[in-house]
Symmetry: C2
Subunit: 222 residues, 2 copies
């Protein structure tokens, strides 16, 4: 049996459910493919969606920001929905109706918490940096007490989650006689040539891990 | 005076407010740069964030889906927050604290409505297709009555909105003596080589508008 999140009224995919999964591995794969998520939370009954960076360990997701941020303060103790979406291409069909997008997306639900222990917070920030840029934390000017105090790390255990995706050519091969171009315009997000900070001393090399990340075509190390 | 959205308690940017704007033109520019948004809405007090495609005319934003979609039905008549985010690069500094991301994002707030008139709905869907792929609607197999019925178009007049962005190298030039690589890893999303549908008759050419869109480096025509 695959390990999967419970399928609840909240997270059951209704439309195009053949494109859906609730398996841990599928949820993890989407979360790990993108650096950025959109966090939904409620203030006075109204919805807010804030973009932020996330990282993951097991079924726990993390994000960070200012200790004074309204976004982080409001989310604490509250139900949130954290969504990660990757767009892989435009799908062009013979009819307008059959146009689509190739994509991968995950919606994860849970209750947001704040890391309160200073050592746990520092360890989480180290994990944030090193999960994007392996080995980098060690090479940096150490974090100060003031910086640590100004920063809050949030975490959420995934209680419910779903993934949807679409891959492949348009689904209307049965209308191939319509004389219009059909197919996919693939879309990709990649890292380009590193741009050194202007004031950096000559001779400071680009670390191999960063060169590898750029060359990998991925947005996070695999 | 620039035309701008009111700065309210909801939309006033608190942190890094030097990176903020509420000008119509800045909000429009971010909405127009990306095909995809994340819509936040509330069901039974809990937040949901659904990715979807959006398009814009003036200060009105549109999105579409199944007439049976819970997402669309729930949003109708409700306050929503529609967020568009573009990531332009990783910013690597000498200290972990000064790491950042180059980005552009817009959060727009308003009340979601459903287009109820069939002709208005068809016109909006045509605008959706042609705003992404100029002139395409006219070349397609016409929309059927059943397809029109299955589809709902939502619209929202922007009541409040904010934009934030960050550009440029890391902000810690004063610590340039720390011997670690610092700078920007630029990130870009682009369209790649078009992939014709396998069953398409040989000799159906790629329309010039699609070739131009791919060549432009943009995700929507300017
Ligand atoms: C890049 C992109 C573009 C899209 N564009 C459109 C569009 O233009 N029109 C459109 O109708 N849909 C679009 N979608 C799909 C959209 O996100 C929803 O899946 C769909 O609108 C409604 O599905 P539903 O009615 O089953 O969801 P609902 O019934 O509203 O949701 C039920 C539950 O299903 C799960 N779920 C629903 N959608 C997703 C998802 N995308 N990822 C993970 N879990 C999900 C959640 O747990 C949710 O709580 C797009 C998705 C992506 C990633
Ligand atoms: C790709 C990306 C990655 C990011 N990563 C992080 C991160 O890792 N950590 C982090 O702290 N922040 C991150 N941000 C910024 C984040 O979105 C918020 O701006 C910030 O966390 C909180 O700002 P605030 O306290 O002023 O917002 P709040 O006080 O929570 O918001 C007040 C109002 O300001 C406006 N606003 C706030 N943020 C934005 C925004 N991004 N775009 C448009 N309007 C906005 C809205 O109207 C909002 O209602 C990222 C943004 C982007 C686009
Ligand atoms: C540029 C053109 C278009 C694009 C890129 C597009 C894209 C999409 C995407 C990505 C979805 C989500 C599918 C999923 O849940 O996996 C969707 C759903 C849908 N679209 Fe479109 N669309 C386009 C035009 C249209 C038009 C013109 C119509 C109507 C004539 C239409 C009707 C629908 C309907 C009814 C759904 C819901 C499908 C379902 O849940 O059963 N779309 N569209
Ligand atoms: C890979 C490493 C990191 C990246 C990419 C990163 C990225 C970001 C981004 C994009 C923001 C939002 C800035 C804005 O609102 O425009 C932010 C805010 C913030 N980050 Fe980080 N960060 C990283 C590591 C850290 C670390 C290690 C700390 C603490 C030591 C930290 C502390 C903060 C604080 C306090 C804010 C809020 C700033 C403010 O609103 O005043 N970050 N970060």
């Amino acid at each position: 049996m695959t390990e999967q999140f419970p399928v609840t009224d909240r997270s059951r995919v209704r439309r195009m459910h053949d494109r859906a999964s609730h398996a841990w591995a599928d949820v993890h794969a989407v979360l790990d493919a993108a650096p950025m998520c959109h966090v939904g939370y409620v203030i006075d009954g109204a919805p807010y969606v804030t973009p932020t960076l996330h990282w993951r360990q097991g079924n726990r997701v993390f994000w960070h920001g200012s200790s004074a941020s309204r976004f982080l303060r409001q989310a604490e103790g509250q139900a949130v929905c954290l969504t990660v979406s990757l767009m892989d291409g435009y799908v062009l069909a013979r009819s307008a109706y059959n146009h689509s997008v190739n994509y991968r997306s995950a919606m994860v639900f849970g209750r947001a918490n704040k890391i309160t222990d200073a050592q746990d917070s520092a360890a989480a920030l180290r994990e944030m940096v090193d999960s994007l840029f392996p080995g980098r934390w060690e090479t940096l000017r150490p974090m100060t007490a003031q910086e640590a105090k100004a920063t809050t790390v949030m975490w959420m255990d995934i209680a419910e989650a779903s993934v949807k995706d679409r891959v492949g050519p348009p689904g209307d091969a049965d209308e191939a006689d319509v004389p219009v171009w059909a197919g996919v315009l693939p879309m990709r997000t990649t890292l380009g040539t590193p741009e050194p900070a202007p004031e950096m001393a000559a001779g400071v090399p680009l670390p191999a891990e960063l060169a590898e990340l750029v060359a990998s075509g991925l947005l996070r190390p695999a």
